[in-house]
């Protein structure tokens, strides 16, 4: 039974890239285009790992992380932030919200898979 990964990113290119890499590694991928959709997707699918962008319309990544953590079913689900940003303040903010890891865009396929596997046990 392969794992399901929810990817939340407003960039179609990024979503497709994640889809290609993750599907290629045998994961199921559920996609969402922004934070609001991302949280809605939690009702339809049960992701094992959530990968979210920070800068998105409607609801940003911090909102996603907080929203996910408020849902009792996803209190312990790993959330990885995928962002071009890398400032310590932003990371700290994501961590405070409940993020599990931080990957800087652009990412290498191997690095991403390594991190995903690392957090998804």
């Amino acid at each position: 039974m392969s794992k399901t990964i929810l990817t939340i990113d407003d960039s179609r290119m990024m979503r497709e890239m994640l889809l290609m890499v993750l599907q290629g590694a045998g994961f199921n991928v559920v996609q969402a285009e922004d934070g609001v959709e991302g949280l809605e997707a939690l009702a339809r699918s049960t992701p094992d790992v959530i990968i979210t962008d920070i800068n998105m319309p409607r609801m940003d990544g911090y909102g996603v992380i907080e929203g996910v953590r408020q849902d009792p079913r996803y209190r312990a689900t790993p959330i990885l932030v995928l962002s071009t940003e890398s400032s310590p303040e932003k990371k700290q903010r994501a961590r405070n919200a409940g993020a599990t890891g931080w990957i800087v865009k652009p990412f290498q396929a191997d690095t991403l898979l390594d991190v995903v596997r690392r957090v998804s046990a």
Partner: protein, 720 residues
């Protein structure tokens, strides 16, 4: 296609959309509609372009986008006001960014000097305290640190080289997970596993803090682990593992001198099992399962909801107003097929009627329904390809900015009707004429700032670009509030160039139309803008080739308006089917004003071959279609045939004579050039219900030919 290439294509498409929304956002900021949503959207656009650029290694673009983004970030956080000067600069920066995207596509080059200057200007906005602008051209390197191991993004702590590195020594790591760590989806087991990847580890679990069952908070963290690692393990690698978790899992890392490395198998098995059992009571679900199942068993496999097979390969969830992207070729193919279907349906209907089936028969009624459905399918398919003209319009602000810059004039562009929809095939061909007309309006239409002030006008000239639907056609208007067409000068030039006779008497409208004559240019010096070798005559020809027309209206001192009208689609046409001799021809309905059967007293002979028709007090030239197309040498008697009164672009009204009218119907346009060759007087062809090919008449060409034939005979030129 290579998947990466496909993604790159997606990226470029996305870039186009992002650049469009960037420009749109900046324009609304320029218009003073500065709300935080707009600023955020603008920021995100640049941010996303940068993100993708990094992924594909477009370093120059990343560098520029980064500086741009930094400035926008300052605006977003309120440190920089979006005042007009700043927004103007950003609009130009958006143009540079667009150049970068184009260069990445391989469609152009970036003016590096301009890019650097722009980057410096942007950087200066956020470093206003007089400090040197930030190094702008150097690409930001948000990605990896030199050691390449930092996928978590944190800078690894570096220890000095004077660190003792005894071969026999080993690392001793104490990790004390906190409750907060588990709350963020971390799992102590995973850290242990990561550590074991670095080399042989010896792990000890300290459960001394574990309270009795009744005092146990299942979510609290009570366990600490001590892991011993070989000394040759790089410290950075160990610290990296705990990079992002930070204070949620404090670690103590010491390099001890006396260490006995034990293989993992030597880890005492029995205590771990008991502790794991205890753990299962106190840790959150995911970790418990992981511990129970051992390291290799997927943690969430036991989570019931994960078993729902429905989540496999779920595509992007459909949001409100869901859209899909379809390859244009598929749509075109479908349009072709539907065209064939329409023809086929018409043929079938004709055959059935010929076979003598009664109108009320079930076959005939079924066919009527089929006709209805076919028509609906056709309309729906055409609607798929219909697009708002926005995609063309949104390129124009940049053009206007550049044209304004090149001429030193102040220009405001007003756009209306961007949502007007028209077939994709038409949209693609709108860009060039609009570009040229706008350039023309700025270059020739608007006065210089000094002239405007002198004549009491606003310093800033206004150019208006509007799109609207009018009687089944799309109309594009380009108007300016400049000086209008200088008629005496136009006339003078036309005489000088021998385009008209010096004593020709022309109406204002005819003089205005002179500028469409080949080889006409009013600019005394070839300016930077309009002197690109394309005259208004070329614009006019290209529009006529699309079945369109262009007209001018001009008021001296007030400005000019160019009106361009085009069919909504190039795929189907409503036409009047007529017989001319043996041939069946189709005349586009849009050109026909009325059809009539002339009375003998209305036809007046004019010269040996010519004739005119009196229609409600005015006289229009009679043109025999058969003669014009070379099918017969002698015109038929107009009173024996029918007359199509047409409005042509070239010479006003004309009366086309055909033998008889067969009816009115929608026909599918088949290109004659693509299937045969270009024929003068014929715009295209179609296939009728009986399977015969019918030619579609190019009314303007037929009328123009008549005028040019007569012009050869008489020296008085008619402005065409």
């Amino acid at each position: 296609m290579d998947p990466m290439d496909a993604i790159k294509q997606t990226y470029f498409q996305e870039c186009d959309e992002l650049l469009a929304s960037l420009e749109e956002g900046l324009l609304s900021l320029e218009a003073g509609e500065a709300d935080s949503d707009t600023i955020n959207a603008v920021f995100r656009a640049v941010h996303s372009v940068k993100g993708g650029a990094g992924a594909f290694g477009f370093q120059a673009m990343v560098g520029f986008a980064h500086v741009f983004e930094t400035t926008l970030d300052a605006m977003r956080s309120g440190k920089l006001d979006p005042d007009p000067e700043v927004v103007k600069l950003m609009l130009r920066a958006a143009d540079v960014l667009a150049d970068h995207v184009a260069a990445a596509k391989g469609e152009g080059t970036v003016d590096e000097a301009r890019g650097h200057a722009m980057a410096d200007e942007l950087a200066a906005l956020v470093a206003p305290e007089g400090g040197a602008p930030r190094t702008s051209a150097t690409p930001a390197s948000p990605a990896h640190d030199e050691d390449g191991g930092d996928e978590w993004g944190f800078k690894p702590l570096k220890f000095g080289d004077d660190e003792p590195a005894a071969a026999s020594a080993g690392w001793r790591l104490v990790m004390r997970p906190t409750k907060a760590m588990y709350a963020k989806g971390h799992d102590a087991l995973l850290f242990l596993r990561e550590l074991s990847r670095l080399g042989p580890t010896a792990t000890t679990l300290d459960t001394s803090w574990l309270p009795n069952l009744e005092g146990l908070d299942p979510e609290e963290s009570y366990c600490t682990w001590t892991v011993e690692l070989p000394a040759e393990t790089p410290e950075v690698a160990i610290r990296d593992i705990f990079d992002f978790v930070g204070d949620d899992c404090p670690i103590e890392l010491t390099l001890s001198g006396a260490n006995v490395v034990e293989p993992p198998a030597a880890t005492p098995a029995a205590p771990i099992d008991i502790d794991a059992l205890l753990n299962s009571v106190r840790t959150p679900t995911a970790e418990r399962e992981a511990l129970e199942g051992g390291a290799e068993k997927p943690a969430a496999a036991a989570t019931p909801a994960a078993d729902k097979g429905a989540s496999k390969n779920v595509p992007a969830p459909a949001g409100a107003g869901a859209t899909i992207r379809v390859d244009l070729e598929r749509v075109d193919r479908m349009i072709d097929l539907v065209g064939e279907l329409v023809i086929n349906q018409a043929m079938l209907q004709q055959r059935v009627m010929e076979s003598g089936a009664a109108r009320s028969s079930t076959i005939a009624m079924g066919l009527d329904e089929l006709e209805q459905l076919t028509r609906e399918i056709q309309d729906s398919v055409m609607a798929i390809r219909a697009q708002p003209v926005k995609s063309v319009f949104q390129r124009m602000p940049r053009l206007v900015r550049e044209a304004a810059g090149a001429t030193g004039k102040q220009v405001r562009l007003v756009m209306e009707g961007e949502g007007t929809e028209v077939d994709k095939t038409v949209i693609e061909r709108l860009s060039d004429p609009i570009t040229h007309m706008l350039r023309n309006a700025i270059d020739h239409g608007l006065e210089s700032t000094e002239e405007r002030v002198a004549s009491g006008k606003q310093e800033e000239g206004t150019v208006r670009l509007a799109a609207l639907h009018r009687s089944g056609r799309i109309v594009i208007e380009v108007s300016d509030d400049g000086k209008g067409i200088n008629r005496p000068k136009v006339r003078e030039i036309a005489v000088k160039k021998g385009l008209i006779a010096p004593d020709a008497s022309l109406t204002d409208e005819e003089i205005d139309n002179l500028i469409f004559l080949p080889g006409f240019s009013t600019a005394t010096t070839i300016s930077n803008l309009s002197g690109r070798g394309v005259g208004m005559d070329v614009v006019k020809r290209s529009i006529q080739a699309l079945g369109g027309r262009i007209t001018i209206s001009s008021i001296p001192g007030k400005g000019s308006t160019f009106t361009l009208s085009l069919p909504l689609t190039l795929a189907v046409l409503d036409g009047m089917v007529v017989s001319v001799g043996e041939q069946t021809l189709v005349a586009p309905l849009t050109t026909i004003i009325e059809t009539l059967r002339p009375k003998p007293e209305e036809v007046r002979r004019l010269g040996p071959r010519g004739a005119v028709l009196a229609v409600r007090g005015s006289h229009v030239p009679l043109i025999d279609i058969g003669v014009a197309l070379g099918q017969r040498s002698e015109p038929i008697d107009p009173t024996q045939g029918v007359v199509l009164l047409v409005e042509s672009e070239v010479g006003g009204r004309a009366a086309l004579v055909a033998d008889e009218i067969q009816g009115q119907r929608q026909v599918v346009i088949k290109s004659l050039e693509a299937n045969f060759q270009r024929v003068e007087g014929v715009a295209a062809a179609t296939i009728l219900g009986d399977g015969r090919v019918a030619l579609i008449l190019d009314v303007d060409a037929v009328v123009e030919k008549m005028f040019s034939d007569r012009r050869d005979a008489a020296p008085l030129a008619k402005a065409s």
